[in-house]
């Protein structure tokens, strides 16, 4: 293993020259990234640039056609589903369209992971569910069905479901997509709170610049399957790469925002 590969293997997540192709179409052409423990990395880029594909690879929903992925020092790209399942117990994911189990109540959705993988009593689980729902501002919604909730509420429940099992790694797939600015801001604040409270390593895939600059410690921009820029929000803002400049300035709200924490 090269020195670089050893270095990557020591990070919380490291992605080394990962490629992905669907037939002749190359979605990822050799992406390398490293994320430290407790860090929030935002992957930004236009639609179809391969960022969601990359995120799905980090939790074993897609398999790369080349390169290697390390999570907590273990190479995971050749994991079997059984090995992934062991690792996934310490991971959580917030889906773009929430992906709540629509045949279950909000409470059962949040309790699902705890019921499946812990020996906690029903009382303990219900108490965790109530506390988690309180954290996301949905106390008392435990008995509601997902169909009775608004888009923003569903996203919050999706976040609650992901954090109920106190994961070490959290993945967000377009968490603010399709939400109005006020509700999107609620989600952004929840992500910030989660980052501060749980110190969880997070990867945020988004094309919402406001969200990326508000929540992330570092930002990587992906374009046509390659990382074209990487750095702190301030460094990305100063980046001279034409595509990055165009993308950020077109997507940025007037005045912009930088995470100053």
């Amino acid at each position: 293993m090269s020195r670089e590969a050893v270095f990557l293997a020591e990070r919380a997540i490291s992605v080394n020259n990962v490629q992905m192709a669907y037939g002749a179409a190359k979605v990822l052409k050799g992406v390398s990234l490293a994320i430290d423990k407790g860090e929030v990395l935002a992957i930004i880029g236009p639609s179809g640039s391969g960022k969601s594909t990359l995120l799905r690879m980090l939790i074993g929903l897609s398999k790369p056609t080349g390169g290697s992925i390390f999570i907590n020092g273990r190479q995971v790209d050749s994991f079997s589903e059984k090995e992934w399942n062991r690792l996934r117990k310490s991971m959580g994911m917030v889906f773009q369209y929430s992906a709540l189990f629509d045949s279950m109540t909000v409470g059962d959705n949040v309790a699902f992971g705890l019921r499946q993988h812990t020996d906690k009593t029903n009382e303990e689980i219900l108490s965790i569910v109530e506390k988690t729902l309180e954290t996301i501002g949905l106390a008392g919604y435990s008995g509601y069905m997902p169909g009775q909730l608004s888009g923003g509420m569903k996203k919050r429940v999706s976040l609650a479901r992901a954090i109920a099992t106190t994961p070490e790694i959290l993945l967000y797939d377009e968490p603010t997509a399709g939400l109005d600015p006020v509700v999107a801001d609620v989600i952004n604040n929840l992500m910030l709170e989660t980052k501060k409270r749980m110190k969880v390593t997070s990867v945020l895939v988004t094309h919402d610049m406001y969200s990326a600059f508000m929540v992330a410690d570092r930002i990587a921009m992906i374009h046509e399957g390659l990382i074209i820029a990487e750095g702190t929000p301030a460094e990305i803002l100063k980046c001279e790469h034409e595509i990055v400049k165009t993308f950020i300035h077109k997507a940025m709200p007037p005045g912009g925002i930088i995470n100053e924490q």
Partner: protein, 255 residues
């Protein structure tokens, strides 16, 4: 000529791959039976089995009555009206009940399974299950297969009873067959395996409906249209497989 051969080859390859993936899914569910949730299985038994009872009862009663209409008068002409009960019961028990129950359940339950799991697939709920380290084969497929395998024979028992009764009423009305003659012919000519063999077939058909239903749902693509296509495909494939399997089971069990 080469193009046609290539097209045929591709079709055969696709169908073989499809059959292989159904078999793999069934195997994954089979090995996960020890981990299956009893609560979820009972829920599915109610949903897929008990709720199918009315439609199975109606169709098999009608089938028993129609079969008696066609046989009773003809048998009466031949002076063999004493055997109508046995004929109806054997036909119902060996073939009509398992086939009709299988087809009706494929239409009702198979379609429902595919639509439900297909909707879960296109709304990323299946991915959510996997992300939460829960195997869809254990959580979704195994309980449905178990429920169908256990409940279809139960439906078959009800279907045999009502089908035979339907046959009796019609045989009595059209050919004057008495209850004694009807029941006596069943007692003389029928053996328990006429019913048991049919119930064994029901178990196989339940397995086909659930496995195909789950497989089609898990492989649904492209939103609502994809779910619709998967649901239609599930019913069609289940019915085809039921008829083909029925031939081999009939040979195996009754020849």
């Amino acid at each position: 000529m080469g193009k046609i051969a290539a097209r045929v080859g591709r079709w055969v390859m696709n169908k073989s791959a499809g059959t292989g993936s159904v078999a793999i899914l069934f195997w994954q569910a089979l090995v996960s039976f020890p981990d299956v949730s009893i609560r979820e299985t009972i829920k599915q038994m109610t949903k897929l089995g008990v709720d199918s009872l009315p439609i199975v009862v109606v169709t098999t009663t009608a089938a028993g009555m129609v079969f008696a209409v066609q046989t009773a008068q003809e048998f009466a002409k031949l002076g063999a009206s004493d055997s109508v009960g046995a004929i109806v019961t054997i036909a119902m028990g060996r073939e009509l009940v398992p086939i009709l129950s299988g087809v009706v359940v494929a239409g009702r339950v198979g379609a429902a399974i595919t639509a439900e799991i297909g909707s879960m697939k296109v709304t990323e709920q299946i991915d959510a299950l996997r992300v939460m380290a829960v195997s869809p084969a254990v959580y979704l497929v195994a309980p449905r297969i178990l429920a169908c395998v256990l409940m279809l024979p139960v439906l078959g028992i009800f279907a045999n009873v009502v089908g035979s009764w339907g046959g009796y009423f019609v045989a009595h009305a059209y050919a004057g067959v008495t209850s004694y003659s009807y029941l006596n012919s069943i007692k003389v000519f029928c053996v328990p395996f006429d019913i048991v063999g049919g119930l064994i077939k029901c178990m196989f058909f339940g397995c086909i409906v659930a496995t195909v239903g789950c497989h089609k749902g898990l492989n649904a693509v492209s939103g609502a249209e994809g779910v619709g296509i998967a649901t239609t495909g599930s019913v069609v494939l289940s019915i085809i497989m039921i008829f083909i399997t029925n031939y081999f089971l009939s040979v195996l069990l009754y020849v």
